[in-house]
């Protein structure tokens, strides 16, 4: 090893001693995994386009703490979702239940699709009808003649 190598070792060695393995995020891996699974389907109320799992908002952290405790208390996923819905409403669920107030949300896209298909169908039909009408018997005869490469007039 040359002088430079020794220098490098002298600088890096203390750092290596200081470096430690990252401590596990949570003692209970299973609880954390369930927490992530549940909170990915929950909406953060502070940053509304973020899931609870992804959010670092203060309230999101508090709610995750709550969910973590419910998991440890042996609650089912449904019971945990229910806990949050009772306090914050269906809005927290990324998959809201199908009921009167969410009917437009669930069926709206399909209604738009059906409407769009209907408009497109009418449009296409009309255009086709217009195209068919544009060829008279004389035009057809000339087109045939052109295709056969006969008359060029």
């Amino acid at each position: 090893m040359n002088l430079r190598g020794w220098w490098l070792a002298a600088v890096l060695l203390p750092l290596a001693v200081l470096a430690r393995e990252a401590p596990p995020v949570a003692a209970d891996e299973q609880v954390e995994q369930r927490l992530v699974r549940i909170s990915e389907e929950l909406r953060c109320l502070v940053c509304q386009n973020e899931s609870l799992a992804a959010s670092r908002a203060e309230l999101a952290l508090d709610l995750k703490r709550e969910v973590r405790e419910l998991i440890k208390a042996g609650k089912t996923d449904d019971e945990i979702r229910d806990f949050l819905v009772k306090r914050y409403g269906d809005f927290v669920l990324y998959r809201p239940p199908l009921k009167e107030s969410t009917l437009a949300l669930w069926l709206g896209p399909f209604a738009l699709l059906v409407g769009g298909v209907a408009v497109a169908a009418v449009f296409i039909r009309r255009r086709r009808a217009a195209q068919q009408a544009s060829l008279s018997a004389e035009d057809e005869r000339r087109a045939d003649a052109l295709l056969r490469g006969e008359d060029r007039t």
Binding site: L45, V46, Q48, E58, L59, D62, L63, E66, V85, K86, R87, Y88, G89, D90, F91, V122, R126
Partner: protein, 171 residues
């Protein structure tokens, strides 16, 4: 066909325009017309504890505030004015706030509350579905939440919604 498309276009514009006037931050609370969640919390300034059951038979306001909350500053003078009218008892929920900061804040800007209770870890806030301080609840004589104001109470909200509601509930 063309007329139909124009009508459809304007219908869509109208729909989106209505959407723009609405505030997506205001999530309707499922707690309206439900009993106010029970709790037992220490008071902020003096010794002693408080639980909402003590307010049975009274129409009262429950206001969630914190010294770190910017819009609470905006709302505060309105609450101070309201407290002077003695229209209904106003109780504060000091939400996730260091005690010293909270007391200093009240000393500086005035204390409109009968008293405030301390929700240090935000648990009671969660029970009340708090997601953005300030929030204000109107609770009736039977202990049922009748109205929730999300965000600061404005003079308009106070005059048009909260005070008429108190009058109606006290009748």
């Amino acid at each position: 066909m063309r007329i139909g498309l124009i009508i459809a276009f304007f219908a869509l514009v109208a729909l989106l325009a209505i959407g723009l006037t609405r505030n997506p931050r205001e999530v309707p609370s499922p707690l309206i017309d439900k009993p106010a969640p029970a709790f037992d919390l220490p008071r902020l300034a003096k010794e002693g504890r408080f639980s909402p059951a003590e307010m049975r038979g009274k129409v009262w306001l429950f206001n969630v505030w914190a010294s770190w909350c910017v819009s609470c500053r905006e709302e505060h003078p309105i609450l101070v004015e309201f407290a002077k009218t003695r229209r209904a008892p106003l109780i504060g929920l000091n939400y996730k706030d260091p005690r010293d900061d909270a007391l200093k804040w009240l000393a500086r800007y005035g204390d409109p509350y009968e008293f405030s209770v301390v929700d240090a870890d935000g648990r009671i806030g969660i029970d009340y579905g708090v997601y953005g301080v300030p929030e204000t609840y109107v609770i009736d004589r039977a202990g049922v939440i009748r109205y929730k104001q999300i965000g600061p109470v404005t003079p308009d909200v106070l005059a048009k919604k909260i005070v008429p509601l108190i009058e109606e509930l006290e009748r």
